[in-house]
Symmetry: C2
């Protein structure tokens, strides 16, 4: 059986445009997940085309939240992704945060690098790894990149490749409600119904707890598209670009405090989520 | 039991931006549904803010398709919606077509008018009534108007009022994939799960056959959001503007030749649709 999740630490995927200046709702919850006594934060802006504009916001936000040090890591190329000094800063950090930008830049530069190996090791040892927008989309073993926003439910419209491999069993899309990306996850679900589609709205996030329990956080929505019970689709018979038919996918919208058990494919209302998290703590 | 549909003639709802100049794929199918010997077409541009730009395209298209006469009806106010001459042109027509624009203008001007009464009578007597964009959205007993495109899954974000009352049991939204309107129909479904959400993509349409059988036509997609089996939602407990949670809605994507039985809530692959339409003809 394919593993539904692999993280033994905590992952937080954020849909983009999270509040970085006032309430810091989501970033506060990310920082609170850091293991006891590990209050250094590494912010990785590899995905961003404008790291110098993005990094200071996160430096200010995490400092306000109580980080003892915030390491601002641009990591612009594969050489930098192999530097010992950078690896050491990752190893010191209790929170590792990926900014937004282009997820293909993130995987192209970090894929197979010593920095990524260090991040995986930190995750296995209890650190929290969080990412927003591209930084969220890149987390699973397989990710979406580019792809038309409008009618993506056409064969081949969604581009996919290997992601950072921090979690399996899911595919993550960001800016989901704001950019109307439902059809992207529908196409992915038609191509293979096994993997849960997680569509993150802006200023919304999902904590991926150990045991594959999802918890929605922030003021926005987390949409789930569960294709497991797909009844039929014409996708295999179509030529590229032709419209894909889909019979029966299941749709959920989670808000803060609601959850989902990926393995059991079960929606969790707040008291159910709280009970499961308490029991497994 | 609330009636699932009321049309005894044929209705065609189109998602907007249908081809009016080259293949006329959808308009051809609309015209083909006209009853034998009733080849006059009435085009009603009440919804449009630019009727003089819109009407000539339809005149050319329906003339090419074989209409003996195409009546171009601007109908700008309630006085015009009561004129005997206009009512007479409706009574002569085998096809009545609503252009796009603003569905609120359409209902505000036609609601309760002699012209609308004449249209309903024509529909009951076998004429085809078609509409695109606003002209499609306005067809059911209840319609959506305005409403934020982005994250509409917030309590009260979707504005609804009475539609033209040509069909019941459905709510219709247009430009659905292109403008990412999934959350609009999800909010409607959370507010009352009884009514099927029909999201029409551009250059896609749905024929609403007698007996509540839907048939997708055109090169685009028709998305269905079926909330009947909604398991839970927080909507009743929220303040206005707060994000709505939704547990379990069913999602389908139909392409040309696929269908749906509204009463049975059953997706119909092409051979099933063909068999049902043949049997009930």
């Amino acid at each position: 059986m394919y593993p539904l999740y692999s993280a033994s630490g905590n992952l937080v995927a954020i849909g983009g445009a999270e509040d970085r200046k006032s309430d810091l709702d989501i970033l506060k919850q990310v920082f609170a997940l850091a293991p006891e006594g590990h209050d250094e934060v590494a912010v990785i802006a590899t995905a961003s085309g404008i790291p110098d504009e993005v990094l200071p916001d996160y430096e200010a936000a995490f400092s306000r939240l109580g980080a003892s040090r915030v390491h601002l890591l641009g990591i612009r190329d594969r050489k930098q992704a192999a530097e010992d000094d950078t690896v050491r800063l990752i190893e010191q950090s209790g929170v590792i945060f990926f900014t937004g930008g282009d997820q293909l830049r993130l995987t192209n530069i970090l894929g197979g690098s010593p920095v990524l190996a260090a991040i995986r090791e930190r995750l296995d040892n209890g650190a929290v790894v969080a990412g927003t927008s591209a930084g969220a989309a890149a987390m699973p073993g397989t990710m979406i990149y580019n792809g038309a926003a409008a009618d993506a439910l056409r064969k081949g419209a969604v581009n996919m490749t290997f992601g950072l491999g921090l979690v399996d069993g899911l595919i993550i899309d960001s800016h989901f409600l704001e950019r109307g990306r439902f059809t992207r996850l529908m196409e992915v679900g038609a191509s293979n119904p096994e993997h849960l589609g997680v569509g993150l709205g802006e200023d919304a996030g999902v904590i991926i707890h150990p045991h594959g329990i999802l918890e929605a956080i922030g003021p926005g929505h987390v949409i789930l598209i569960d294709s497991r019970d797909l009844a039929s689709s014409n996708i295999a018979d179509l030529s590229m670009g032709a419209p894909v038919a889909v019979e029966h996918m299941i749709l959920h919208a989670m808000v803060s405090g609601h959850g989902f058990d990926v393995e059991a494919r079960r929606y969790l209302v707040p008291h159910e989520l709280a009970a499961i998290l308490a029991e497994r703590r």
